[in-house]
């Protein structure tokens, strides 16, 4: 890989890495208390709630 590509490669990962981890962390922390599975029949969802 050329030097310029190596630089943009590492720069991209230094930006994308924290963004990815922040997204995962926020998504997990904001999960609904009672997960809803759309595949379940209606009564079972109500029961889970």
């Amino acid at each position: 890989m050329k030097r310029t590509h190596r630089k943009s490669h590492i720069l991209l990962w230094l930006i994308l890495g924290p963004v990815m981890f922040a997204t995962i962390a926020l998504a997990v922390l904001n999960r609904p208390a009672a997960p809803v599975n759309d595949a379940l029949p209606g009564p079972l969802i109500e029961e889970a709630r």
Binding site: H5, M20, T23, V28, P32
Partner: protein, 348 residues
């Protein structure tokens, strides 16, 4: 290496690889659906289309994660070089699996209303200001678009016409596709799947990919090799140079240099392959030619030219051996310039 364009380049090795890959994909999908059905709590079941949707979705994520790990892993161990050689087929296959996943989603969730499914994808869930309720399908659609661009331009035709620099820059878009995919799963499946396996899988995948890329990326920048007072760079002791392999040296400016040993001869060329910028110094000498580990492009040691009928040329460098130590002059010769190899054992 190919002199003319062919739709798909299949060597016997690639055919075997593709066959194994296809078997693995079918096995994964079948096992995912069967085990998912067996492990469903009594009274609960999911439609086979939804099971296939999940199987293709998880498979596309796992395959893209693996593809992104191949490059850094191949730098750490030779065991991953065969995967590097077949990475493009793997990438196109991943796009096709993601496309099946997307097609199933579009049909199942957006195909039954009067609204155009593509319009429905963007307007059916307008909660763009919510994290837990974010329209995550749009993120997956974005990742799929990028993967389509990668797959459509994966052929050497595009590499040759766009130029290796533009092609490489374009294909770095796959990193953005992976970030979108992570967000797609985090704001989608993670929000309504009870199993912690999805969270673990997502976090582990992202951690491995990011750690490998940042780790190997930083290692490549770990200092430049210092030149001696007369400007030559020390490479290694002759005894430490493995036959048919190279040592890579990095001048303070300019591209890295691959210094190869072939029997009693030492030669140096640019470390950057003309095809896609592959690291030639991580390849080896095959049939007397330096062979790129990425796609097998070859160059003669003595002049940096690809053997006829190929026309690619890379820069050569002068080498010398003093008291059993190999040195290279960091000033490159013009690509394709003949350069006499240093002889091991010859008087210095």
């Amino acid at each position: 290496m190919s002199h003319d364009y062919k739709a798909v380049q299949w060597t016997p090795f690639k055919k075997r690889f593709d066959l194994w890959m296809l078997c693995g994909i079918v096995l994964y999908i079948v096992l995912f659906i069967v085990l998912g059905e067996v492990n469903q709590p009594p009274g609960e079941s999911i439609h086979p289309v939804q099971a296939l949707m999940r199987a293709t979705g998880t498979l596309a994520f796992l395959l893209l994660t693996f593809i992104l790990c191949i490059g850094p892993l191949a730098r750490m161990t030779d065991r991953f070089k065969p995967f590097l050689y077949n990475r493009r087929h793997l990438g196109v296959t991943t796009f096709l699996i993601a496309l099946i996943h997307a097609a199933l989603v579009m049909m199942w969730y957006h195909g039954f209303s009067e609204t155009n499914p593509f319009v429905s994808l963007f307007i059916s869930n307008p909660r763009y200001d919510s994290l837990a309720g974010f329209p995550f399908e749009v993120l997956g659609f974005g990742a799929l678009l990028i993967m389509f661009l990668m797959a459509a331009t994966s052929h050497d035709f595009w590499n040759a016409n766009l130029g290796p620099g533009v092609w490489k820059t374009l294909h770095m878009g796959v990193y953005l596709a992976y970030a979108l995919l992570i967000a797609h799963v985090a704001l989608g499946a993670i929000q309504f799947e009870k199993s912690p396996a999805y969270v673990v899988l997502l976090a582990a995948g992202a951690t491995v990919v990011v750690a490998l890329h940042i780790g190997t990326g930083l290692a490549a920048f770990r200092g430049s090799d210092k030149a001696d007072t007369d400007g030559w760079l020390k490479v290694a002791a002759v005894a430490d140079m493995q036959d048919a392999r190279a040592k890579i040296v990095r001048p303070s400016d300019g591209e890295a240099i691959a210094v190869f040993r072939d029997g009693n001869k030492i030669s140096a060329v640019s470390n950057v392959c003309r095809h896609q910028g592959g690291p030639l110094g991580e390849g080896k000498i095959v049939d007397g030619c330096i062979t790129c580990p990425w796609h097998g492009f070859q160059y003669r040691m003595e002049d940096g030219q690809s053997p006829p009928p190929f026309t690619e040329k890379i820069a050569t460098y002068a080498t010398r051996i003093i008291e059993g130590v190999v040195y290279v002059n960091p000033e490159p010769n013009a690509p394709g310039t003949p350069q006499t190899p240093s002889q091991i054992g010859a008087p210095s």
